[in-house]
Amino acid sequence: MDGSRVSRSGERAIFWTLPAVAVVWIAAFFLFPGFVPPMSPKASAAEVAAFYRDHLSRVRYSMILFNWFCVALIPILMLLVERMRGMAHRTPVLRYCVIGVAGAAPIAFLTSTVFWLIAAFRPDRSPALTQMCNDLAWITFTCGVPFLIALCVFVAVAIAYDDQERPVFPRWVARFNLVIALALVPSCFAGLTLDGAFAWNGFVSFWVKNVAIAVWIVVMAVVLRNAMDRDGIAVGVGA
């Protein structure tokens, strides 16, 4: 709506932090010994305590990496917010919706790294306490997706309302966002079971959820790049 007089300077630099940050995320994901395979919620307190004793350094280093860089998604999401200025909306209210959840979504994840790091800080603590910290970390990590779900829905609604001849994002991106939102929903119920596909280490709550987030980031990066090109921000490597 007021896109023409807004500076675009520096947006390209933010966009190209994404591949670097993605490499750090992937490295941290494989560095954390509790992700591949994901830790079982059925592990006893003694087993959980032993896990932290045996893998202390990898838990600490991977979670420090996530703590540093999970919030690096926020500047990328702000590029999305800037593209929304070009949409055929009459008010900025949907941008405010996206800004509202863009902060909370990675902060929820950051909170889970705090619980993981507390669990690892004193590995000689009582096993029951370590297990509680581990539970807090895993439930925050697995169920802490309300802001991502809302983000996908807000983006879908924003695209649906962008009815101009050349919309900022193609129509299918709205449907794609709704599919991702739906894929995240089952993980919210991970507290209900310690076993099976819906448990925090299960196919749905761990793999479907995390792959959905990864796919969302990749697909949105591509459509974001196309939209930035149209806004005259040369995002290409050679530009």
């Binding site: 919620p41 909306h89 009459r90 008010t91 900025p92 209210v93 949907l94 405010y96 919706c97 800004i99 509202g100 959840v101 902060g103 909370a104 979504a105 902060i107 929820a108 909170t111 029951a128 306490l129 297990q131 509680m132 539970d135 807090l136 439930i139 925050t140 169920c143 802490g144 997706v145 309300p146 802001f147 991502l148 779900i149 809302a150 983000l151 829905v153 807000f154 609604v157 309302y161 929903v185 919210c188 119920f189 507290g191 209900l192 310690l194």
Partner: protein, 260 residues
């Protein structure tokens, strides 16, 4: 105008989308906290660790299912924040007020309601956990929920100041002062961090019953006033016109009383 038309073809459909989402979110919130999880009215702060274990056992599935629903839909709390931010942006005051409100309430979501959902889910998922730890999770849940104060305190004062300074007539002045009442609930809740019994404890007459009555009334009022604003809004930047006669006729009688 039908719900479908207001969301599909109306010129203010974005505003209607966030308004209907706000109503849906607060309704869900009320059902989850009061009916499904029975975490409102809150448990007693003076429970022993063993009694806290019993408290979790008593509402095991309710806690897990209810808070799972908040994990699914809690992000829609952003709709009311966005709409209120828009209302401030629609005023004659600096955008600094609007952005302050947006950022204050957006970050409040984590300590304000995600913590209680996580603490109560972790408590309910292992009923055989050490009672001392169950007690800690119980305290963590309730204290983070009622004791996240500053963002709502300062946020309400920001909204109040914007309304009182505004020359566009976005809200009636008395609603500015009602924000002060909401801010004061965050002052009188502070002793709940200290007292385990009495009117100032987290379930006490002042810290819970009066606060919830004020917050409930405040919420119902601002939802009506936001609806009234959307109806009157000409999507411009100057004074907001009076309600068109047709819309005034259709408006709920209570909305007309509140709009003054």
């Amino acid at each position: 105008m039908s719900l479908v038309a207001s969301l599909r073809t109306d010129a203010k459909r974005e505003l209607w989308f966030v308004w209907y989402s706000t109503v849906a979110f607060y309704s869900l919130y009320t059902v989850v906290f009061f009916v499904l999880t029975r975490t409102q009215p809150p448990g007693h702060p003076w429970l022993t660790p063993e009694q806290a274990v019993g408290w979790f056992a008593d509402r095991h599935s309710g806690l897990l299912v209810g808070f799972a629903l908040i994990f699914v839909l809690g992000g829609f709390s952003a709709t009311s924040i966005a709409l209120i931010t828009y209302s401030i942006r629609r005023m004659s005051v600096s955008r600094a007020y609007a952005y302050s409100y947006l950022i204050l309430y957006a970050i409040a979501a984590i300590p304000g309601f995600v913590f209680i959902c996580v603490a109560m889910t972790v408590g309910a998922m292992r009923p055989d956990r050490d009672p001392v730890l169950m007690h800690w999770l119980y305290d963590f849940g309730f204290l983070s929920f009622s004791g996240t104060m500053g963002v709502f305190l300062v946020g309400s004062l920001i909204w109040m100041a914007a309304i009182l300074l505004d020359k566009n007539g976005v809200f009636p002045r008395w609603f500015g002062y009602l924000n002060l009442c909401n801010a004061l609930t965050e002052v009188v809740i502070a002793p709940s961090w200290i007292f385990q019994r009495g009117v100032l404890a987290w379930n006490g007459v002042i810290a819970w019953w009066i606060d919830v009555a004020v917050f409930g009334m405040y919420t119902v009022v601002f939802i009506y006033l936001l609806r009234n604003l959307i109806q009157r809004d000409d999507l411009g930047t100057g004074p907001v016109p009076a309600l068109p006669p047709g819309a005034a006729r259709r408006a709920h009688p209570l909305a007309k009383v509140i709009a003054g």
